[in-house]
C-alpha cells in the first residue's frame, strides 16, 4: 500500500507501525512518530495499524535554539 512518510510517497508491504518502521530502515534509531498528526508512543508501535494513504511523521534529534 502507499503511505506518506515525511510527506514523501512510499510503498510498504507491512501493516503495523513497528514493522513498517523496520521495513523503511528506521530499526533501532532514536526517533518519534506521529500518525495523521497524532503522536504514537513507541510502546504502541506494535499494535497500531497503518491504513492506505496514511501520513506518517518520523522525527529525530536535531540542533535547536
Amino acid at each position: 500500500m502507499r503511505i506518506l512518510v515525511n510527506d514523501e510517497q512510499r510503498e510498504v508491504t507491512n501493516t503495523t507501525l513497528a514493522t513498517i518502521l523496520n521495513e523503511l530502515g528506521y530499526g533501532g534509531a532514536r526517533i518519534a512518530t506521529a500518525l495523521n498528526g497524532t503522536f504514537i508512543p513507541a510502546s504502541q508501535r506494535d499494535t497500531v495499524t497503518i491504513m492506505e494513504g496514511a501520513s506518517l511523521e518520523v522525527l529525530a534529534p536535531m540542533q535547536g535554539g
Binding site: Y26, R30, A32, P41, V58, A60, M62, Q63, G64, G65
Partner: protein, 259 residues
Amino acid sequence: MEFYGTQLASRLMLGTAQYDSPALLAQSVEASKASVVTVSLRREAAGAQAGQAFWSLVKSLGVHILPNTAGCHGVREAVTTAHMAREVFGTDWVKLEVIGQGDLLQPDVFGLVEATRILTEDGFKVFPYTTEDLVTAERLLKAGAEVLMPWGAPIGSGRGLNNIFGLRALRAHFPTIPMVIDAGIGRPSHAAMAFELGFDAVLINTAVAKAGDPVRMGEAFRLACDAGLAGYAAQPIEERDMAVPSTPTLGLARGLAVE
C-alpha cells in the same frame, strides 16, 4: 536557581543551532559553562545518521536538555511535537513555542496559553516563550507554567532588550517566578543588563554560534552573566535626570581671588 525543582549550576542556557561544526558547539558550551542546552526535532530519512550523531553529542555535554517546539504555528502541532520530543529526549521539560507572526517570529500568546494548559495536564514542565505582556504572563502561570521565557527582542535579531520598561514591570509583578530572557540577545552587555534587571537566566543561540569566535564569545557571555548577577546583588543606584556631584564640594577654594 531552580527550574521546576531542578537546581542549576549556571544561569546561562545555550541553543545548539547554527554552529559550523559539532566540535565548535561542544567547545562553546564548555567555555560558556552553560547548564542547559536547547534542542529540537526534524524529519530524518531512514538510514540517515545526523540525528543519532547529534543525540550522542548532546548526551556527552553533561548538561540539562530543553527540547523546543520551534517552527510550530498552531496548538495541536506544538502539543504533538512536545510529546515526540519528550519521548526522544527523555525529559518532560519543553520550551514551548507557538509562533503567530512569521516576520518577527512573535509568539501567538493565545495559542501559547492553550498549549501550556494542555501540556501541563499531560505532565510536562512548560517553559513558554512569550512576550513581556503582563496579562499573558498571568494566564500562562494560571495555565500551569512555573517558569516564563519573555523575549528580549525577535529571535536572532541581536537587538538586546527592546522594552526595558515592560520587562522591568514583568519582573516586578512576578518577583518569585523564575524568568529567562530568551531571544534577541546579541552581545554580552545585553545579558548583563538582563541580570541587572533581576532576571534569573538568559538563553542565547545566534549571538554565540554566529560570532566570529564562538568559543571566546561563549566565555564572554559567561563573564557578562556573572557581572550582571553580581551587579544586581550589589543593588545598583537609581537613575537621576540631573547631575549630582560625586566629588565633595565642601571646603572648595571657591572664594579665592585670582590675581
